[in-house]
Symmetry: C2
Subunit: 340 residues, 2 copies
Amino acid sequence: MSSYSEFDLITFLRQRCRRAPRHLKTSIGDDCAVFAPGFAHRMVCTSDLLVEGFHFRKEWISPQFLGRKACLVNLSDLAAMGARPYACLLNLALEPAWLSGQVQALIEGFVSEAEERNMPLIGGDLSRSDRLFVSVTALGYVKSGEPLLRSTARPGDAIFLIGDLGYSRLGLQLLKETADLDLSGIAGDDELRRHAGSEERYRCLKAHLCPPVHAEEAVWFQENQAARAMIDVSDGLAADLRHILDESGVAAEINVEALPSLEGIDSQDALLALLLDGGEDYALLFTASPEMQERIAQEYPSDWSQPSLIGRVVDGPPRLILVRDGKRRTYEPRGFDHFQ
Amino acid sequence: MSSYSEFDLITFLRQRCRRAPRHLKTSIGDDCAVFAPGFAHRMVCTSDLLVEGFHFRKEWISPQFLGRKACLVNLSDLAAMGARPYACLLNLALEPAWLSGQVQALIEGFVSEAEERNMPLIGGDLSRSDRLFVSVTALGYVKSGEPLLRSTARPGDAIFLIGDLGYSRLGLQLLKETADLDLSGIAGDDELRRHAGSEERYRCLKAHLCPPVHAEEAVWFQENQAARAMIDVSDGLAADLRHILDESGVAAEINVEALPSLEGIDSQDALLALLLDGGEDYALLFTASPEMQERIAQEYPSDWSQPSLIGRVVDGPPRLILVRDGKRRTYEPRGFDHFQ
C-alpha cells in the first residue's frame, strides 16, 4: 500500500494542468489527447527515457529537479530541430515507497517547467515499479519551411555553438565526489544554491540538474533560415558533431581556442576532455552558410545567448579535426554506449 | 558489458524499419521524427508503459510477444478514439544481461506488429536498466469529424461490445497456476499453441499475450458516424464503462444475459467477475443513438467481428445497473489502482 492512489494522482494532474496548448480538443481524461494540427506545416516528435540508477540517482536529484530535467532534455530535442514546442506526454513508473509529496513534487517540477516552456502536458501513463522510470514524449512543430536536420551540413558552412560546455560533467563529478551532498529534498534554485556552498559549485550542479536549453534561439534559426544543420549537444560536442558529419558525409575543423572557457581547470588535457566529451551540456550546435552567417551577424537578437564561431565544415570523409596553434589532428569522440 | 552495443541496435532498427508512414520526412536517425500533418483533420496521441514485475514477468512472456503486446495495447488506445494509427515511438530500458537475440526478438515482435497494423515505428530511445521497461507512444488521426470520446454518451443510447471478455484474465490465471509453463522463449503463435497443450488454454494465453485489438472496426464507427462514445476495455468492462458514465454524467443498464459467453466456468459469480472485472480484454465498448443503430444494422460489414447489444444508457448519476431476470442491482467495479 502506498500513501497515494492512482485516482488521487490523476485528479491532481487534471487540476494542475490548467494550461492547454492552442488547438487542443481533448486532454488528460480520455484514451488519447486530441488536437487539430492545422497550425503546423511540419510536426516533429521525440521520446526520451530517464532511468533510476543509470541516468540519475535519487540522492543526487530531488523529485522536483528530476521532473524539470525530464522536461528539459526532451525540449532540447525539439530545439535541435529548430521546432517550436507544442505539448508533451509523461509516463511515470513510481515506487510505492515514495510519499505523496515526492510524487507531487516530481509532477509539479515537470508541469511547471513544461508550461513555462510552452510545452503543456496533455497525456501519459502511471504505473507502479520497483525502479523509478520517467519517459517523456515531446511534440513540436514548424510553421513553415523544414526542421533543421543533421544531414544537411555542407563544406564551407561555419560551425557555431550556443551555450556552455563541461559544467554539467563537473556537476556530476561534484555529486560523485562529495559524499555528504544529499540533494534529494531540494525544492528550487535558491535551495540548490545554498546547498552548493559556492557560486562556482552551484553553476556546475545547476547545469547538471536543470540544463539551460536554448529553445527560443533554436526556433529563431529555423524561422529566419539562418542555420543549415543543427543538433543539441547531449552526448558531448565531439560525439554530436560527429552525428552531423556522419549524416551529412562531411568533415569538420574545430578551432580549439574558440571553444568556450571553463574556469578552475588547470590541465589542458582535462579541459579539452570536458569541453569535447563532457556530455549533458544541452548546448546548441549548428552549421550556417556564408549568407546565413551574414543574416546572423545583422539580425540575431543582441540580448540572447550569442553564437560562437568554433570551426567550419570541410570536404572529406566524416571526421573531426582539431586545430590549435596552426596544428591539425584528428579527434575520436569518446563514444558513449548505453550498453557497454 | 553486454552482448550488444547501442550502435548495433540502432543500426538494426534503422534497417528493420523500412516501412515509413505517408508524409514522413525524417525518421530514426535525427533528434526527432518529422512529418507533414496535412492529411489529418485531428491528430490523437497516447502513451503507455509496460513495467517488468508489474505488467509482466519474463517467465510468462517471451521478448517477441512482449514487443507485440506493447504495440497492441497502444494501438487499442487509438482504436478507443476511432482513430486510424499513423506511427509510434518506442522507448526501451534493457538489462545488459539480455542476449542480442532477445533484444532483437523484442524489437522484431514490436516492429512487425506495428507495420502489420499500419503504425510504423519512427523514433524512440534506448537505455540500460536493471529492470525491463517498455514505453510506447502512438500517434493516430481522423480524416474528418471528431474522434470518439468518453464524454459524449447520452440517455437513450444503446451500449455495444465488440470482442471477448475474461479470456485474458483466464490466461493470466493459467500462468500463475501452472508452475512449469515457461513461455520466455516462444517465437510465434504456433509455438504458443504447442506449449499451451489444448486449444482452450491457447485461446486464453493468446488473449493475454497478444490481445485481438479491433482497430479497423473502431475506425469504421468513427468514419461512418455510427458511435457516440467509445472506450477500449483494458481495466475491465465495469470499470471502463464507468469511465464513460463518469465523463458523460449518465447511468447504464447492462443486460447480464447479453454478455458474451465464456466456456468452462461453472460458478455464476466467478463468471460475472471475469466478464465485468477481468481486465486486459481490449474489447471495444461504445454507445450509439437510435439512428446510429440503424446505420450499424444496415451497413456494418458482415464479415467483421459483430457488435453485441449489451445494454443502454439511462438518465441519472453515474452508476452501473445490472439487469438479470428482470431484477436490477447496482454494480461497483472492482477498481484497479496501480498503487494500492
